[in-house]
Amino acid sequence: MVENTVKPGEILLSVEDISLSFGAVRAISEVSFDIKKGEVRAIIGPNGAGKTSMLNCINGFYHPQQGTITYKGITRSAMKPYEAAAQGIARTFQNVALFKGMSTLDNIMTGRNLKMKSGILASTLWWGKAQKEEMEHRRFVEDIIDFLEIEAIRKTPVGRLPYGLQKRVELGRALAAEPELLLLDEPMAGMNLEEKQDMCRFILDVNDEFGTTICLIEHDMGVVMDISDRVMVLDYGGKIGDGVPDEVRNDQNVIDAYLGGGH
């Protein structure tokens, strides 16, 4: 595979004219948009507008029937989710999708899996290379744990954590992969004000410090308009608006869709 590097400000991912349907239900119809390297890109829209389906297409979980996705200059037809992960796309989920039986530490360690190479035999010995590798990655993960301020719950099984913390651990797991493109599906849903503020801080920090490109879905308009560079609006699977927050805020179509004026 050719490793293309994309400079900040250039287009990292572009989605062209994709359509996705399940039987007779059309989830996405003919949507095109792009994500630039280093920006915070938001996708908003009412429930059922096809936002999550869009993320699912980007990371290869759904395969659109029509249209192309170009990532780092490579256009792909169909790819498996793990291939997307290998190319540097990580994500979090709308309904927290952590590994419930595992501790916080182990959950975040799973995010490092693509970088761990030791084989089965070496791992059974827990000696030499395999151990060294494990320790190196542990160190990296500990940095993430520090960054997200979740030191105290390092060894707690995530099933026992409150919702807000679970979301944070999930972000940690995605960050552990050192992604180039980070997809966040409603990272702040169901959080109280303080938790939202924390989460915003983490997102912006990730964007600033690591230069990670972020594409997020969120319902809280205040937050979206505040932290994102560009916003795309979906409604009934189609794109009805796209631009910087101020443009979108004043767009008549968008106002109609949100206030129900047009229907």
């Binding site: 399940f22 999550t52 699912n56 979980f61 989920f93 709308q94 309904n95 999708a97």
Partner: protein, 301 residues
């Protein structure tokens, strides 16, 4: 020419016998489907329930010397009681657990029932005598086993009755509602407990009928539970939630297995009936994971 006719007759005889045996598998599979549809529980104990029901029937007959119809009614009562116990002591305590945990719990029920049934009624092979015909008759040169024919008709009648029950009665509709969405059903005032007891009772009844058929054929004995395992590949072919699927799957497995035994068996040493059904199901799964009639699952995150 005569050879060909003879071959053809023989083929038909094997096929029909296979189809009819298949309908016996279907009977067991039906019980699985009922419970899976209504509660999402994969009931591994269906075979044990079948044996337990048949043992009870024969046991009552022997112990009390009553007519088989009386024993039949008593056996139904036993199965209803069992359904109540299962709800009360097992499922009711495992609400909201993962399906795999419930599945393993039904393996526990299987072992318990196997042990309990034999403790109560003894472990020697018993004769099931409910006046079903035996022997076979000749139809244009093809011999058909009478008992298997009865079993086939019974399976058909049972499916018809169940279809009526599900579509025409209030309880049946409630059952379907529960199958579709537990929470929604609860919210419109359907009691999950009652539904589960009903559905396990119906599955028990189906098990009893299956037990009578199998018992008349092979005698009531412990090895029936192993035969009941054959219902699993049937389910895989037919899909876990489809009643017609259980029937068609049973027919395919029954006939496929008999034909394979006759026509493939001799080349590989015979006795392939033990595993052929499973292999057929496994290969089938690779191409159609949701079964013949199962719905395609759209995965979400």
């Amino acid at each position: 020419m005569e050879d060909i006719i003879f071959e053809l007759q023989f083929f038909l005889e094997v096929l029909i016998s296979g189809l009819l045996t298949g309908s016996l598998y279907s009977l067991v599979a039906l019980g699985f489907v009922l419970i899976f549809k209504a509660s999402g529980v994969f009931n591994f104990a269906q075979g044990a329930m079948m044996l337990f029901a048949a043992l009870s029937l024969v046991g009552f007959q022997e112990l009390l010397g009553v007519h088989w119809t009386v024993a039949f009614v008593m056996a139904i009562a036993v199965m209803v009681l069992l359904a109540w116990c299962v709800e009360k002591f097992v499922l009711g305590k495992l609400v909201n657990q993962e399906p795999i945990i419930l599945f393993m719990a039904t393996i526990g029920i299987t072992f318990f029932l196997d042990g309990f049934g034999q403790t109560l009624w003894g472990s020697d092979i018993k004769v099931m005598d409910v006046g079903l015909p035996t022997g076979s008759f000749d139809m244009g040169g093809i011999f058909i086993d009478k008992l298997e024919l009865v079993a086939g008709f019974t399976a058909g009648a049972l499916v018809l009755a169940l279809a009526l029950f599900f579509n025409k009665t209030k309880i049946g509709r409630a059952l379907r509602a529960v199958a579709d969405d537990h929470q929604a059903a609860l919210s419109v005032g359907i009691s999950l407990r009652t539904i589960w007891i009903i559905v396990w009772s119906v599955a028990g009844l189906v098990g009893l009928v299956a037990g009578i058929m199998w018992g008349s054929k092979l005698g009531v004995q412990f090895s029936l539970t192993l035969l009941a395992l054959k219902a699993l590949p049937v389910l895989i072919l037919g899909g876990f939630t489809s009643i017609p699927g259980a029937i068609v799957g049973g027919l395919i497995i029954g006939s496929g297995e008999k034909l394979a035994e006759i026509y493939i068996g001799p080349f590989v040493g015979g006795a392939i009936e033990n595993w052929f059904a499973y292999m057929l199901a496994m290969v089938f799964l690779l191409f159609r994971p949701q079964g013949l009639f199962g719905e395609k699952i759209i995965e979400r995150v």
